[in-house]
Symmetry: C2
Subunit: 246 residues, 2 copies
């Protein structure tokens, strides 16, 4: 099956159009961190809309046995009481194989995933590292592919838009698809300079992270097609949102 239409939503506050499946991008850093988690032994990740929800869910899950890893950020830094922040490199240093389940709350990425999931359609976290693999999986759904950029605090962000442009580039190389305005814009941005690290460094979010000492996370996030790992949004038996390694 091939994609008929690509609709890129540049701003997380927009009402979502109809789509047959969704890719959600928060390259700095939630979906990049998710890729690191699933690529190195993680199996189950619970996305939460807020830090408070994350604590509650962690405690509930811990009651049944080994507590899951608690990770995420507020203003790019680990909230007090969390095991880890939202840094893929910090996670890899910690050694994800120690915990195969994690609860995650971030300002932009987890909320965007939960928003896309309200469509009831297949939703996949995606980033530059697993671009080719994620795009191929989404393309197999056929129909209209929605790409939701998590952005920064409710606004559109250059880092996610450039990554969306990379996805559109991969998709249009594989066949004809109708491009919505957001897809055309993202594609023009990416084509004007197909260099992910440069876009991450130019973006407001990237500059902020460099200032906070996370420059290596930007370099890590910009490694296009360095991962083949896939994951898929779903629900637990008790109805909790969950992302599982696919």
């Amino acid at each position: 099956m091939s994609i008929k239409k690509i609709d890129v939503v540049l701003s997380p506050g927009e009402e979502l159009p109809e789509a047959d499946s969704w890719l959600v991008i928060d390259i700095l850093r939630a979906t990049t961190t998710m890729d690191a988690f699933f690529s190195s032994g993680g199996r189950t990740l619970y996305p939460c809309p807020s830090i408070e929800d994350a604590f509650t869910l962690r405690d509930r899950l811990a009651a049944g046995g080994d507590p899951p890893l608690l990770m995420g950020e507020r203003n790019a830094l680990p909230p007090p009481g969390f095991d880890l922040g939202n840094s893929p490199l910090e996670l890899l240093e910690y050694g994800p194989a120690k915990k195969t389940a994690a609860v995650m709350a971030t300002t932009n990425g987890t909320r965007a995933l939960l928003k896309a999931a309200r469509s009831g359609r297949p939703v996949r976290p995606a980033c530059a590292r697993n671009a080719q693999a994620a795009v191929r999986a989404a393309a197999s759904e056929g129909g209209t592919l929605g790409i939701l950029c998590a952005g920064l605090k409710g606004r559109s962000a250059l880092d996610d838009a450039a990554c969306a442009g990379l996805f559109v580039e991969i998709l249009v190389a594989g066949g004809d698809a109708e491009l919505g305005d957001g897809a055309l814009m993202a594609l023009e941005i990416w084509r004007s300079c197909p260099d992910m690290e440069r876009w991450l460094r130019q973006s407001v979010h990237g500059k902020r992270l460099i200032g906070l000492g996370f420059e290596k996370d930007l370099v890590f996030a910009s490694a296009v097609n360095s991962s083949e790992t896939l994951s898929l949004f779903g629900r637990t038996e008790s109805g909790d949102p969950v992302i599982r390694r696919a």
Copy 2:
């Protein structure tokens, strides 16, 4: 005075950042129609958030004398009972000098103007036709310039983003200014092909208008720097939002 920072809001649903003044773009077609109105004798335009509000205001204003022109659109077409649609060429054919006051309701443009006006800062409608003049007026305010793209039904739109890119191009040619993510994205889009008519024809909104028979409006809207006309958002003595020829 010169601009220190340029913040382009690509999507009308985003929370607006702080800015010292605003340019609002709805190139297809509200702000282009406003430019045609003020360039050909119009003096006072009342922007309304809805068709119902427009009828009410028109009737109230008519009670004091000559009724103002009632113009605007719903789904790109003139609402029943309106004097005119949202077409600059239809307006010019009608002869705006017949009426120097108009009430206007459109889906995207008038709402975006009213949203920017809630900032309490100077707000100017702008389009490709009066790009240079509008940008020069906004630059004279100094500080941070906000550029709000009206978009299409709550989503970001290629036509307005390309026009915002043209504005940023004019501004950066005049001096150094810090560019937010939206400004960088708009600039890349514009620079990848500095041809307004091409962008209007590629956009979802432009294609729709061509399908409805408004192709000449697109050509008219794409005439960069063909107008020197300026207008400014304000309030009447009774508090009604109003845009006056400046």
